[in-house]
Amino acid sequence: MSGRRILTITRRVMKQVLRDHRTVALLIVAPILVLSLGALLFRTDPVAIPLGIVNEDQGMSLPVVGSIDLGQRILDELIESDRLEVIELVLGEVDERLLDGSAQGVLILPEDFTADFLQDQQAELDLRLEGSNPTRSMTITAQVTQAAMESLASLAGTGFGMPGASQADDGEGSLPLSVEVTYFFGGEEFDTMDYVAPVYIAVLAMFLVFLLACVAFLRERSQGTMERLAATPANRAEIVLGYMLGLGLFALIQVSVILFYTVWVLKIHYLGSLALLFLIITLLAFVGVNMGILASAFARNEFQVVQFVPILIIPQILLGGSFWAVSEMPQYLQPFAYAMPIYYANTALRDVMLKGWGLAEIWPNIAVLLGIIGVLYMLSALMMQREVA
């Protein structure tokens, strides 16, 4: 072992890295960017989940106890919750609110709710959940159950209610409360993986072809074939389109593998059309291809390609509605989410997989993805102008 030789190599490596100013800058900027985004998202107070309540409960007047309005008591308890934003609704609005997502669940308290409880000593809650986000569904169910139990406990002094009961959700046994949950989308069989699966699919579909396209196009320049190609009658638009289609074919193969594995091996639930899922993932893969071609114009070597990951890919995962719903992000971060191509794919994939929506409902997201592909394609062709007259 020669310490001198080792130091010589160390010095040479340091010189090389230091002379690549962008690498040095990214070594500092990239972790700060990713950590800042993570901190902003993780430290954000959870946004209250909108819960609709249709309270038609008429209550009941009893000779000694006086008036009892169990529905109002539950409503008051729910309003106290900082996890929920209670919206009072009428019955006719329920489906519309669940469909557009402005209510993530609706609790329906019929007019004889109190009367029935007093008669049967058993309260049955009708809770309708939007259902596409299992985490939200669980939160709503837990909060509603807790509010109902608190309300029943408050009746203890009246000789009604079961103050000792801590929770109930199936109406079995001695518990005075049962929650009948119905799902507008999805169902009980949908778990968190079903909710996260569209994100996995989207990230994989875009990320891998992005790297493939970026490196392939970079090699075209570094091995000199781009210069040769530019000296043929082919114009920039043709070259980029040829690349897009060539790499797109591999993207399609990858998309097929991802879908097959997700649906048939991992048994991820999906309600909508498989063909539509294929279309969305394919479009996102084409976004990845074009993003890769465009990014390659800014890279001089493979090392610089890798540097694009924390700059272009990780923010997409953090801000694109993958794990944090955009509506739950801080207000000032939300515009960035809408600038992320993956957001539109995530939304469309979830709408198809979890809500069973079709093209008629998700076409705006498809249109945006197509638009992004068009813009990236034009920018890629324009960026080639920098190198080729």
Binding site: G224, A231, T232, A234
Partner: protein
């Protein structure tokens, strides 16, 4: 319409303060081998890239096959061999040649076989380029430039890094092509290659120090070799610059 296959007028290309090409006038006739001779950094590659349309001139004009460059349409009749071999490593020799023929929209199976025979690559057509030696790569690169039966060939230092035997073989190819009416513009910094050209331009610092046939340049300078003529011209240019 000009009678020349290639012609430049007061051609200039400046990169900020660097005058890579500085007022070049020259013309090449059909079937002629024209040599761009000069040391590294004299502007030969920039001049070739201007002619083929990969760079836009700062000023001046270029006519190639009767069209003002840059003009993509003309390129289907022009072959270009870059200084580096510039081939697709994963593709075979034949696949590389066929690719560039297709890109120019002029794939002709008979001609392709002729080109492969011309550069003596019959035994290696199925070999991936990554398995080839430097000399074989250069031959493949030349074959790619010829793949679409071009009327004009622009060859940027085609013999750099090539052994003397292969260099001699390359010049035999060039002469044969010229005999078939192909016009060649060949850059080189090797003086013995200059002797093989029909006409040549001595380049230094983006300018032509002399232009004409080998005999013309030698007799004007009164030297026995081109190398002496070039050194004399370079020295005069340096003195002129110093004054």
């Amino acid at each position: 319409m000009t009678d020349f296959v290639m012609e430049t007028r007061e051609l200039r290309k400046h990169f900020r303060l660097i005058r890579a090409v500085d007022g070049i006038n020259f013309s090449v006739q059909a079937g002629e081998i024209y040599g761009l001779i000069g040391p590294n950094g004299s502007g030969k590659t920039t001049l070739i890239r201007l002619i083929i349309g990969l760079l836009r001139p700062t000023s001046g004009s270029i006519q190639l096959l009767g069209e003002t460059m840059p003009n993509k349409a003309v390129l289907s009749q022009v072959g270009y061999m870059t200084q580096a071999s510039a081939l697709y490593e994963e593709l075979t020799v034949r696949e590389n040649i066929a690719f560039f023929a297709d890109m120019c929209g002029r794939r002709d199976a008979t001609w392709m076989e002729e080109v492969i025979a011309l550069v003596d690559l019959q035994d290696r057509v199925r070999s991936p380029v990554r398995t080839l030696s430097g000399g074989l790569r250069q031959r493949t690169s030349l074959a790619c430039a010829l793949a679409h039966r071009p009327r004009v060939l622009l060859l940027d230092e085609p013999t750099v890094g090539v052994d003397p035997q292969l260099r001699s073989t390359f010049w035999s190819y060039f002469r044969e092509l010229a005999g078939r009416g192909v016009t060649l513009l060949v850059s080189s910094h090797v003086m013995d290659e200059a002797e093989r050209c029909d006409r040549l331009g001595f380049m230094r610092k983006g300018k032509f120090l002399a232009e004409g046939t080998v005999e013309e340049i030698r007799s004007v300078r009164g030297t026995s070799t081109l190398e002496e003529a070039f050194l004399q011209l370079a020295a005069m240019e340096t003195e002129g610059g110093a004054h």
